[in-house]
């Protein structure tokens, strides 16, 4: 009788052993499908490398792993996925991306005392989403400020036109331009809002051309920003194009029409001899055959921050929970991350220098200006 049940017992036992295998899990809400899925692939490459390094270094007693959920870069999908990560998977730490998604999940993060870390969204509001929401990326106010200072002071541009996607990020960039240009003696002469689903921009290009700007600031992301750049150029807009860190995606860096465009990112010296940065750059290069970008470094850093905090908590014999991670972050002055030693501001946002780059077809851009952290 027992013999007949043996296969069943064996399967049950193996399932039990598998499910109880020790693993420290964190979550990630990335766009894995839809028009912004290209960002998901980029973010994952950085996060996965950090997991590999943490496990190779045995930073934690259990292996670290990431549960990926598809946010499609949409707030609604993001909340559904966050609910699963918090209530079903019970992870203490979630990687987030995109301003809209990050804002949508922040309430749940706060309520469930789950740390949410953004490495991709740059809306300035992201600094004000509660103490459980952290940013390992400089926000748009820092990026826009650095770019306009360079454009006005060094290039002599005075007339700016903004083409922005109608969402919290686009609106925040518009506010930032309206605030930062007048003190420098420049002006935002026109701003064109577009729907996130829009694909036809020949009319927008005509409006932009008629405003005769020195610089066109594009505040969009994903496939849409490439379409905007192509159609602006195809339709006779000759003004310099500029944007924020969303321009650091490989497709745009290789786009012919984007050559000469300016964009901003967190300043990281990829040739640094700092051991953490060097290991990250070397291993990324070995695995992908190309240089990393700041987005990849941001999500590497986001995972590394967790590994460092969790390591400290384990050493103190404390449980790895969102509340303990937050307390430990507050107790830690500096973190050794890719790019050097950095600290979090009181609002949970990393302070980092910003660099202005020019799209030169190399895949990662040419640094033309570095603005120190302030």
């Amino acid at each position: 009788m027992l013999r007949g049940k043996l296969p069943f017992i064996a399967i049950t036992a193996s399932l039990f052993i598998t499910s109880s295998a020790n693993s420290e899990e964190i979550g990630a809400l990335f766009p894995l499908s839809g028009p912004n899925a290209t960002y998901g692939d980029i973010f994952m490459s950085g996060a996965d490398l950090a997991v590999r390094h943490a496990n190779e270094d045995k930073m934690l007693s259990d292996d670290l792993s990431i549960i990926y959920e598809d946010s499609q870069a949409l707030p609604q999908q993001g909340v559904v996925a966050m609910n699963k990560l918090v209530n079903v998977e019970a992870v203490p730490y979630v990687l987030s991306a995109f301003t809209g998604v990050s804002k949508a999940i922040s309430t749940l993060a706060q309520r469930s005392q789950t740390v949410a870390v953004n490495g991709g969204g740059v809306g300035p509001d992201l600094a004000e989403l509660g103490e459980y929401f952290w940013n390992v990326i400089p926000l748009a106010n820092n990026e826009v400020g650095a770019l306009v200072r360079y454009a006005v002071n060094d290039l002599g541009h005075k007339r700016f036109v903004l083409v922005y996607v109608d969402d919290p990020l686009g609106e925040s960039i518009q506010k930032e331009l309206e605030k930062s240009l007048p003190p420098l003696g420049a002006e935002l002469v026109d701003a064109h809002s577009i729907a996130s689903s829009a694909q036809q921009f020949s009319g927008v290009a005509a409006r932009v051309r008629s405003a005769n700007p020195d610089m066109v600031y594009v505040a969009s992301y994903g496939s849409q920003q490439l379409q905007i750049v192509k159609q602006l150029r195809d339709n006779g807009v000759k003004a310099q194009i500029a944007s924020y860190s969303a321009f650091s995606v490989p497709e745009l860096q290789q786009q012919e029409e984007a050559l000469g465009s300016l964009f901003t990112t967190q300043s990281i010296d990829w040739d640094s001899e700092d051991p953490i940065t060097k290991r990250f750059v070397d291993d990324y290069n070995a695995e992908h055959g190309k240089n990393p970008t700041s987005y990849i470094a941001n999500y590497y850093n986001a995972v590394r921050v967790f590994a460092l905090l969790a390591q400290d908590l384990e050493e103190q014999g404390k449980e790895i929970t969102g509340a303990n991670l937050l307390a430990q972050r507050k107790a830690t002055d500096t973190f050794k991350l890719v790019g050097g030693e950095v600290s979090f501001q009181e609002n949970g946002t990393l302070l980092a220098p910003i660099q202005v780059l020019e799209v030169d077809g190399s895949g990662s851009g040419k640094v033309v200006f570095v603005n120190t952290a302030e």
């Binding site: 499908s33 839809g34 028009p35 899925a37 290209t38 083409v163 109608d166 064109h192 809002s193 577009i194 729907a195 689903s197 829009a198 694909q199 036809q200 921009f201 020949s202 009319g203 927008v204 005509a206 409006r207 051309r209 008629s210 994903g222 496939s223 849409q224 490439l226 379409q227 192509k230 159609q231 150029r233 195809d234 339709n235 006779g236 995606v249 497709e251 012919e256």
Partner: protein, 290 residues
Amino acid sequence: MLFLQLLANGLQVGAIYALTAAGFSLIFGSTKIFHFAHGATFAIAAYLFHFALAGLGMHWTFAVLLAAVSAVVFGILLDRLMYAPIQRHEGSFFTVFVASFGIGIVVQNLLGSVFGRGFMSVATPLSNSVEVIPGIYLSPLNGLAIVSAIICFAALHLFLTRTFVGKGMRALSENPELVRTFGLSPRRLSTYAFALGSLLVVPGAIFTAAGTGINPAVGHHVMLISLAATIVGGIGSLRGAACAGLLIGVAENLAMWKLGTQWSEAITFAILFFFIIFKPSGFFGRQTVS
């Protein structure tokens, strides 16, 4: 000058909308099948054109041919392998719609998996605008899109009015039973409608791949415009769908003359609501008696 520029842009966009809307309207009018996957046909044609040109290095004529054949084959296969079985089992209008919607999603994801989810465009000097008169920029693609649309509509008109199959397709939309009485096969005519309707998206797909660029979700927008144009033009009216497509394209662009750019897409729905409320039969649709 801005008005003229927007009008010129609108005519090009409208020509593309008119062709895709006419394709959808032809299929819907003849077969009464809500072919939501019409947008997927558009995306397939655009991607294969791009792949043939940029990936395989084919001459553009072969790339156009490949796009056309793939669109027609996809349309016929859907009709034969999906819609026909559903209709045989007397599936409801809603069943057909859900099946077609599902195909659209599957195709979008397949294209993303095979060709990547990012933006693609055909690099061609034809999309570069030149200043023809001070303040007015036109690209060769502008003219080509309009000329192609005129040629396609002329050919379609001749086909539907002068050929036996064309007349049969028109009759199918009127009275399928009578078509059968005359010895014609509604099933076969339905396949012809799918082939022709799918073929009509090809010029738009090619001009979109070269002009605005494509991503796997490009079909959704096409479907939205086709649906709006079919209603505005009058359900079952090919001429109406074509005129409505042109109207929507021009209105989308001219809206930016005085209104903000964010109103560009909303204007499609404003036109749609206007017609639903004040002229439910559309441009050339039949009056209905309740």
